[in-house]
């Protein structure tokens, strides 16, 4: 029915990117996203494309998984392109009625769409090579310094990872409740929106009640296993920067300088 949501988009294979520290991947992806907004000419786009292509190749994830993320924003891409093509003033190439298609418009549209593709594919590489739990752990470590300002970083990370684990359980539960309520005569196939919304109530109420009960049980189970907050907790797979992580930082730094240099020269 549903593929394993707990793994998110993670594609299980062994590659250098998979083995990188999640912190490195998060920070590098962030830097790459910034770089996408710095490029303005052909050479810059070429550099960004080349970098992305190399990353895709060394991630060993099949290309079709990479472009899967693009499907979701296809409409946004088309809309962006169309609006830009028609609304940018400049040298008119073609007029259809009141609408003018300009050379500048096409240029801007291509640029915007390329940027969107870079952003989505850049984050796809991160998501495909890292499990959600490692990502959460990476974020926890990145934001750890904020605990000094009384921000409950560990607690938030713990909540996110527990929530991830509970998604499949609650999905199963939802399925059972829908079946149970169908048997009792609730019509889930009604075409009228108002009826459909009303029919969600007998599903959502039991789901919430059960979620609260589960949360209570889980809290007791966690306490029974000596959970008492972040403080002195250790980890089974603690994050430690390796040589390859330093190299990755170096690579992204060189790439960013290249983008900046290209921007200045051309």
């Amino acid at each position: 029915m549903l593929r394993d949501i707990t793994l998110g988009q993670f594609y299980p294979i062994d590659s250098i990117l998979h083995r990188l520290d999640p912190r490195v991947k998060i920070i590098c992806t962030f830097i790459y996203m910034i770089s996408v907004f710095l490029v303005r000419d052909v050479w810059g786009y070429l550099a960004a494309t080349l970098f992305l292509a190399i990353m895709i190749i060394i991630s060993k994830v099949p290309f079709k998984y990479m472009i899967r993320g693009l499907k979701g924003i296809l409409m946004i891409m088309i809309l962006t392109a169309v609006i830009n093509v028609f609304t940018t003033p400049g040298k008119v190439l073609l007029s259809i009625g009141v609408i003018d298609i300009t050379l500048e418009g096409i240029k801007v549209a291509v640029r915007m769409v390329l940027r969107l593709i870079f952003l989505v594919m850049g984050s796809s590489i991160m998501m495909l090579t890292t499990t959600p739990s490692r990502l959460t752990y990476g974020l926890e470590r990145i934001f750890k310094p904020l605990e000094r300002f009384n921000l409950p970083v560990h607690e938030i990370a713990m909540m996110i990872s527990i929530a991830l684990g509970f998604i499949p359980i609650l999905v199963d539960e939802l399925d059972k409740i829908i079946k149970a309520q169908s048997v009792r005569g609730v019509d889930f196939n009604n075409r009228k929106l108002s009826v459909r919304i009303k029919n969600m109530i007998p599903v959502l109420v039991p789901l919430f009640v059960s979620a609260f009960r589960r949360a209570g049980d889980l809290a007791v189970a966690m306490e029974a296993r000596c959970y008492h907050g972040g403080g002195k907790r250790t980890g089974i797979n603690p994050l430690r920067y390796d040589r390859r992580d330093h190299i990755a930082y170096l690579v992204i730094f060189i790439y960013l300088s290249m983008i900046i240099v290209i921007g200045i020269i051309f």
Binding site: D4, T6, L7, T131, P132, S133, S161, I162, L164, G165, P168, I169, R213, R214, D217, L218, V220, A221, M222, E223, A224, R225, C226, Y227, H228, K232, R233, T234, G235, I236, N237, P238
Partner: protein, 286 residues
């Protein structure tokens, strides 16, 4: 010194009406005295609402007695300085397999206890490996727990407790939500731990078939211990068990009736197979 000893432990739930005023008091545990020695296999048998789960939660300081005291390995559970020592000594496995899994990977879940105790990463890895091996789940180390069966999930929960190196494991109706195959799986795993690693096991259940291998059985009803002793003795009092709402297996009832009529069947028969086997043996001796 006993591993667990309770002295007149009493616990009450206050029942409130809609407005929050006290409507009544439910005495869930009523002056319970019991002692458990290191390495024993103890069963606590009781029907729904008998107070057996409430009692179980006292062994790990999840609940503190209203009156009386509970000593775990010499520590008073009311002494908050030793709370984590107590919880480490007696690990608990609960009823619903889904509601006690914390990690998104089996490995992470088993590591949760030792991580909380601040054990070094290298040792956690060692413990995770060993605990998964003792419950026969080492193959699933890097799998997602959501893909496992109920019995397997409970074995993971047992491994999670084992990784804290406890002296005692309390199974609070851990088999109640499982199918017969899963129940057997979990019981075999704990019996193995009891036999091999001398870990004390306290099994809380309402299934009579499960207590047959225990060293000692406590039968609890309305918060009081109404019977205790070796399983065979308990089984021969099927009438009392039936009275307090436990479903006594037909094989047990039948063998008790036959014995009353002078047929020398052995005590403590719980399954049809056992009864048939015993009758066949008798027929052969004639």
């Amino acid at each position: 010194m006993s591993l667990i000893s309770t002295d007149k432990v009493t616990y009450e739930y206050i029942i409130r009406d809609k407005n929050g005023s006290v409507e009544g008091i439910n005495r869930a545990v009523d002056e319970v005295d019991m002692t458990v020695e290191q390495g024993e296999f103890i069963a606590i048998l009781g029907s729904n609402g008998s107070g057996k789960s409430t009692l179980a939660k006292h062994f790990n300081a999840l609940l503190l007695p209203l009156e009386g005291t509970v000593y775990i390995d010499g520590y008073d559970t009311a002494d908050s300085d030793h709370l984590w020592d107590i919880r480490q000594t007696t690990g608990m496995v609960f009823q619903n397999p889904d509601n006690q899994i914390i990690g998104t990977l089996v490995e992470e879940d088993v590591a949760f206890g030792p991580e909380n105790m601040g054990v070094k990463s290298k040792e956690i890895k060692e413990r995770v490996k060993n605990s998964l091996e003792s419950v026969g789940m080492e193959k699933y180390r890097y799998k997602s727990p959501s893909k496992l069966s109920g019995g397997q999930k409970q074995r993971i929960a047992i491994a999670g407790v084992l990784a804290m190196k406890p002296k005692c494991i309390v199974l609070d109706e851990s088999t109640a939500m499982l199918d017969p195959a899963g129940r057997k799986e979990v019981l075999n795993a704990v019996m193995e731990l009891n036999r091999k690693d001398k870990i004390t096991v306290i099994l809380i259940t309402h299934f009579m078939e499960e207590v047959i291998n225990a060293d000692k059985v406590y039968v609890i009803d309305k918060g009081k211990i109404c019977m205790s002793g070796p399983p065979r003795l308990i089984f021969s009092n099927a009438e009392i068990l039936k009275e307090i709402g436990l479903s006594v297996p037909y094989a047990t009832l039948l063998s008790n009736e036959l014995r009353k009529r002078g047929i020398p069947l052995r005590d403590g028969i719980v399954s049809n197979e056992e009864l048939a086997g015993n009758i066949c043996q008798l027929l052969q001796t004639i």
